[in-house]
């Protein structure tokens, strides 16, 4: 592999060459199709390239994990999706998976084993934390986030669903930024409003949108960056910041984007 340009090898290409990746990057539907989240996919891919991780993606062979179908009650559709994904993954003899979507992370990690899919699954925040700890990614001092207030919005499917609270925070701390916590964080974190397939329908009648409530809380911290680790949270918080007309001075960025920016990628 030449080292001068970014590469995104697919599993199909790799296995044709008889090679196996160290880790499969599960991109997810949002990471593939959502314009905002595609930037996160690209940022993470650049980091993987830069560090020289031997990875691959499924590309066109990837399919929805079935998470939104299952949460909305359609168990048939979920299992159809899950089993065909498992057939593909097992066909390539995949062992380790990293994904930037907590919904994909939760489903593949916790729900695929019962259907015959057993993999070592990590969320990209954990993967990045590992790279930093191992010294494979050394963050530049005085980078653009040094001393800046960053708040992390816990994704329910990463935090309460799977108990991952520290990895994303470690990543932010490594940037030499000032991590400020919202009133509701970690186990008490407030949902962005999009989980449980809410992303795919209008909210029920109420007196407020959940993402507005959460954005207000994030803005109260005085943070210039709202860090997220989930495509749904990213959309919801981004919309919230726009609704509050604060997009000129408050950015919603994914953890991979924070690192990529620090590295000048």
């Amino acid at each position: 592999m030449s080292d001068s340009t970014y590469k995104v090898p697919t599993m199909q290409e790799m296995s044709a060459k008889g090679e196996a990746p160290e880790v499969l990057f599960w991109v997810g539907c949002a990471g593939s199709f959502d314009d905002r989240y595609k930037a996160v996919t690209i940022a993470f891919t650049k980091i993987l390239n830069k560090v020289g991780i031997n990875f691959a993606v499924l590309g066109p062979e990837e399919s929805c994990t079935g998470d939104p179908a299952r949460r909305a009650g359609n168990e048939f559709l979920f299992q159809m999706q899950a089993m065909s994904n498992i057939q593909v993954l097992n066909g390539y003899n995949i062992k380790k998976i990293v994904t930037a979507c907590p919904h994909c992370f939760n489903t593949i990690k916790n729900e695929y084993p019962e259907l015959g899919g057993n993999y070592d699954v990590v969320h990209h925040s954990q993967f990045l934390q590992g790279l930093i700890n191992e010294g494979k990614v050394t963050l530049k001092d005085g980078g653009e986030f040094k001393g800046k207030k960053i708040t992390f919005h816990d994704s329910c499917y990463l935090g309460r669903a799977n108990g991952v609270y520290e990895a994303p925070r470690d990543v932010i701390k490594a940037l030499d930024a000032e991590l400020v916590e919202m009133k509701r964080c970690k186990t008490k974190g407030l949902c962005c409003g999009a989980g449980g397939a809410q992303m795919f329908k209008d909210a029920e009648k109420g007196n407020k949108e959940i993402n507005i409530e959460r954005t207000e809380e994030a803005l109260e911290t005085g943070a210039e960056v709202i860090a997220a680790g989930c495509p749904f949270c990213m959309t919801m918080m981004g919309d919230g910041v726009k609704n509050k007309e604060r997009e000129h001075n408050v950015k919603v960025l994914d953890l991979a984007e924070l690192i990529a920016k620090n590295q000048g990628l």
Partner: protein, 437 residues
């Protein structure tokens, strides 16, 4: 004549035991109306959770003030009930403070500890009454009707019972030395504050007051035990099995429907094993479609509202309230239990998932964020019930919201929840092609 009080006591005991057994039996029957689910695994972890969460009150301590007040009532309840043992022996044998001569000075110490706890319970109950009725604690103030009355009644009853203990001890102390039936026990610190109230009384009046307080306390406790089985206060017993049998898998993991797996496997031409057993119903339409753990959850709920106070949907004014999910589930399974007892069709009345109990609007509003599950001090899982209701809506009724049906269609045909051609899935990588590192 001399055995009359012992006979009366045994009678009271027998009546209480009868009603208690009846109630326990019917609650057990109702819980067993739920579907089977295996929670016999991993007993080590289960005991650990029971010790930490139920005995150790671990999750209560997320909020310090109510946790301390609750702890005093909890410890008071556990320890003061040791004294009930003496009440029962005395009542049956016609003795008075049978442990006093046996334990000597230790008895005085023990009763002083009980009195301290009685006062602590009293103070806590008064504080809880204030929180419920005067202070602006939204999750408590938002209750009305029977749930509100039930909460207040419990606290008032406990206050009266604690006063009965202190009155009994105060008059007892005054009678020691005046009536040989009353054993010398040494003085009790807290009830001695009450003695001035009774000092002017004749011996007969004192004996009457002391006996009245004794009977009042023991009948009160027995009546309370029966009352508890009709009340949200059932958590004092069920919190223990409820934490033991709680889900151990990660919160985010939804349970797999094996009956669907068999069918999907045969659709995909995979080896499906044994042909699927006749599946009565996919998901839950009524309380009997839920598991016995869901139903035990419902009886364990003490309606504290910590779940609802954390629910993002509820916080933003939507109808969904996890507390209501649990209360509705209990009300419905109670109704089904009564139907069966009355010889009516079990499913008479509105099913659990209908506008009379849990409406589609409530079900659909859930973000599955697990805040309610995390918030519950006794490991109740309202989310599990919600998701089973959604399964029925999606798979049996096809009554999911229209936009969810479109999402289902997209997943089915485009393999993504959005309608993009699957061939575009890898287009994001084009941007990187040839870009210098």
């Amino acid at each position: 004549m001399e055995y009359i009080s012992q006979i009366a006591f045994l009678l009271v005991l027998a009546v209480a035991a009868y009603f208690l057994a009846q109630r326990i039996g019917s609650i057990k029957k109702n819980i067993n109306l739920g579907k089977e689910v295996d929670r016999s695994d991993n007993s080590g972890q289960r005991w650990k959770n029971t010790f930490l969460i139920a005995f150790g009150q671990q999750k209560m301590f997320k909020k310090f003030i109510p946790a301390i007040l609750h702890l005093m009532i909890y410890v008071g309840f556990l320890v003061i009930n040791l004294e009930v043992l003496e009440f029962i022996i005395d009542g049956v044998a016609g003795t008075h403070r049978i442990f006093a001569p046996i334990l000597g000075d230790a008895y005085t110490v023990a009763i002083n500890v009980f009195e301290f706890l009685a006062v602590a319970v009293l103070v806590s109950c008064v504080a809880f009454l204030l929180r419920r009725n005067v202070l602006n604690v939204k999750r408590l103030r938002s209750l009305s009707g029977w749930p509100k009355l039930d909460g207040n009644l419990i606290l008032v009853i406990e206050i009266i019972l604690m006063f009965a203990i202190l009155t009994m001890n105060a008059t007892d102390m005054l009678l020691q030395g005046k009536d040989e039936h009353y054993v010398q026990t040494g003085s009790f610190f807290f009830s001695s504050f009450l003695t001035p109230l009774f000092e002017g009384m004749s011996v007969d009046a004192l004996v009457f007051t002391e006996r009245f307080a004794w009977w009042f306390h023991i009948i009160g406790i027995l009546a309370f035990a029966v009352y508890v089985t009709y009340s949200k206060h059932l958590h004092i017993f069920l919190a223990f099995p409820n934490t033991y049998f709680a889900k151990l898998t990660p919160n985010g993991q939804m349970n797999n429907m094996d009956e669907v797996t068999t069918e999907v496997k045969s659709m995909l031409g995979m080896d499906a094993g044994a042909p699927p057993a006749e599946v009565a119903r996919l998901g839950a339409k009524d309380a009997t479609d839920l598991t016995w753990v869901n139903l035990m959850n419902a009886y364990s709920c003490t309606e504290c509202g910590r779940c609802t106070a954390e629910c993002p949907a509820n916080l933003t004014g939507k109808k969904l309230s996890p507390r209501k999910i649990m209360m509705d589930t209990r009300d419905r399974i109670d109704e089904i239990g009564k139907n069966i007892k009355a010889g009516k069709e079990a499913e008479s009345g509105s099913p659990l998932f209908s506008d009379d109990y849990i409406s589609a609007e409530e079900l659909n509003a859930c973000t599955s964020c697990n805040a309610c599950v995390e918030a519950c001090p006794v490991s109740i899982n309202p989310l599990d019930i919600i998701l089973q209701g959604r399964r029925y809506m999606a798979m049996e009724e096809s009554s999911s919201p229209q936009s969810w049906n479109s999402m289902f269609q997209n997943v089915e045909t485009s393999f993504a929840p959005w309608k993009f051609p699957p061939t575009d899935r890898f287009k994001w990588a084009d941007k990187l092609k040839g870009e210098e590192k």
